[in-house]
Symmetry: C2
Subunit: 354 residues, 2 copies
Amino acid sequence: KNFDIALIPGDGIGPEVVTEGVKVLKAIEKMDTNLSFSFTEFPWGCEHYLKTGKMMDDDGIDKLRHFDAIYLGAVGYPGVPDHISLWELLLRIRKEFDQYVNLRPVILLNQSLTPLKSKTEEDIDFLVIRENSEGEYAGAGDWLFKGQPEEVVLQTGVFSRKGTERIIRYAYEEARKSNRTLTSISKGNALNYSMVFWDEVFEEVGKEYPDVETYSYLVDAASLYLVSDPERFEVVVTSNLFGDIITDLGAGITGGLGLATGANVNPEKQYPSMFEPVHGSAPDIAGKGIANPIAAIWSVSQMLDFFGEERWGKAVLTTIQDMVKETEMLTPDLGGNAATGDVGDSFIEKLKIT
Amino acid sequence: KNFDIALIPGDGIGPEVVTEGVKVLKAIEKMDTNLSFSFTEFPWGCEHYLKTGKMMDDDGIDKLRHFDAIYLGAVGYPGVPDHISLWELLLRIRKEFDQYVNLRPVILLNQSLTPLKSKTEEDIDFLVIRENSEGEYAGAGDWLFKGQPEEVVLQTGVFSRKGTERIIRYAYEEARKSNRTLTSISKGNALNYSMVFWDEVFEEVGKEYPDVETYSYLVDAASLYLVSDPERFEVVVTSNLFGDIITDLGAGITGGLGLATGANVNPEKQYPSMFEPVHGSAPDIAGKGIANPIAAIWSVSQMLDFFGEERWGKAVLTTIQDMVKETEMLTPDLGGNAATGDVGDSFIEKLKIT
Ligand SMILES: CC(C)[C@H](C(=O)O)[C@@H](O)C(=O)O
Ligand SMILES: CC(C)[C@H](C(=O)O)[C@@H](O)C(=O)O
């Protein structure tokens, strides 16, 4: 089986960490004669924008359309405003390819990595399923009476029946399949339209899944539980904005963004899905060879799962788990002093299917 | 000086904890002949609603208008929907009395209370200034094509120039006065109208405060920093919804909601301000005499500060600080086995002005 992968290394540390992820895929190709990967690199991102005035080619979306997956490093560069750097690349791809499921595992790989007292690997192990196509990120709003005393700015979250139902249904399926509880995070007591609707859909769809045990928390309470009681969570489903917050907090309790990955999935495979470390371009450490490639390698694990190569997906994750136990082999953010490339090299030495 | 205080003990554990707060105010009255407090109790809340069909009297807002302060216990009761229990009492009072400043201290009183490894009292000590009158909580939205496949629900955050500027200005003043840094928490990279506006106003008002050192974080990053690096924060200003999330997380890293207080302030004193523990009505433990009254007593400290009686405000907080060091005198949520009333009694025994 061959998989066509579009690489968008992007800005800052993006290229450095994508290099390591590609190393891992190439190593797998060598070990498994049934698998091959081809890579096409696109030089898009903020530096490209500064040179060409464009984040991606005009027909960029069309160029990406026929790939099996997109592997993204990071986008963002000081001086390039977000409405360009994000809305014309990252958020645009998520939306145009209807990658409505954002899968973000929050797994404590090693007890020493959590800032929480007395929490172990067993206590922090859940999957956040974030709505990724609409909601608070719809980009809808208005800016009235600009510069006048009566100036008022409106930001509208858009929650469609279709969009809300499909993400919640996806989450119920995932909870059923993996025999875990499902927790919805919302805020119906204050967001009196969108989140009341969300709660209704969560309950309604739940009728079709009487076997799935459910919980429903307010986002404020959920944030507190994440630090006091993370063992409550198994599968979590939430809106675009709340998912953004909850998953960074999830990264916070499991050792930081250097270990946080996200898959932007179009489950119907009508369009390519996109796999990315969540850490961003980190311009302050770019080019120093100290960026932590583990989140990017974890993205490769998610990609392999998505390809149906779960044995390899699992092997990659297990190797990550083994590696974070040996500090010498880690980058400075995790207390080691290895370089980005050394982490990748030692990773592929250890990688094996079990 | 006499202060007229309206008591709304409310539901669940509300009356139990308000009783202890009132005990403290009465003790202060005895110790300080210059001060007196008069109390008028209003039986409003969800149980009142179940009896009368109303959360508060029709002219409730008028009845409250001339008090110096409102002291609220908690509202909420299983079976009473939020759009009644909250929108017709708590959120209504915040809005109708233009209590646009929500002051929520996040202070670690004792190192043993934080779930974070290696963080001490010095590391967690900040004040969140939450916008409390509009923003995401404006209650604006629409529910279209209900029950149809094209159903779509809109929730609109409303950020006025006036509302945004005054809270940000309040925060700069507070930072200047207390000689602390000011951190704004927003999300301009995704909320492309409201939070871009917020960031602009934060920068613009900042020009008048060149002496105040500022930071601006995305809400997702800020959530992570709260668990990895809480020492970054001194004075924080943020929107209504983000303030809600950030302060519960703040409660999470300082020992839970039993220690979280909030002042809903109308700084111009055109209307009464409201003081409340943040924990809610906790129906599961109501009536058992085990509710933790410390948040409610801390609300009294905030009230005294607001009255200009900072010496007493400080004395109350210092006594709280002393008390949380002796576990025997605490309620079960903090690892003790004292009853609610015992905590209050032992509190007033210890209370003294220094
Ligand atoms: C870069 C930003 C727009 C993005 C988001 O908010 O979704 C990021 O924080 C993430 O979580 O992927
Ligand atoms: C009860 C609820 C509406 C309220 C809020 O969201 O503001 C509470 O969580 C708080 O923080 O005071």
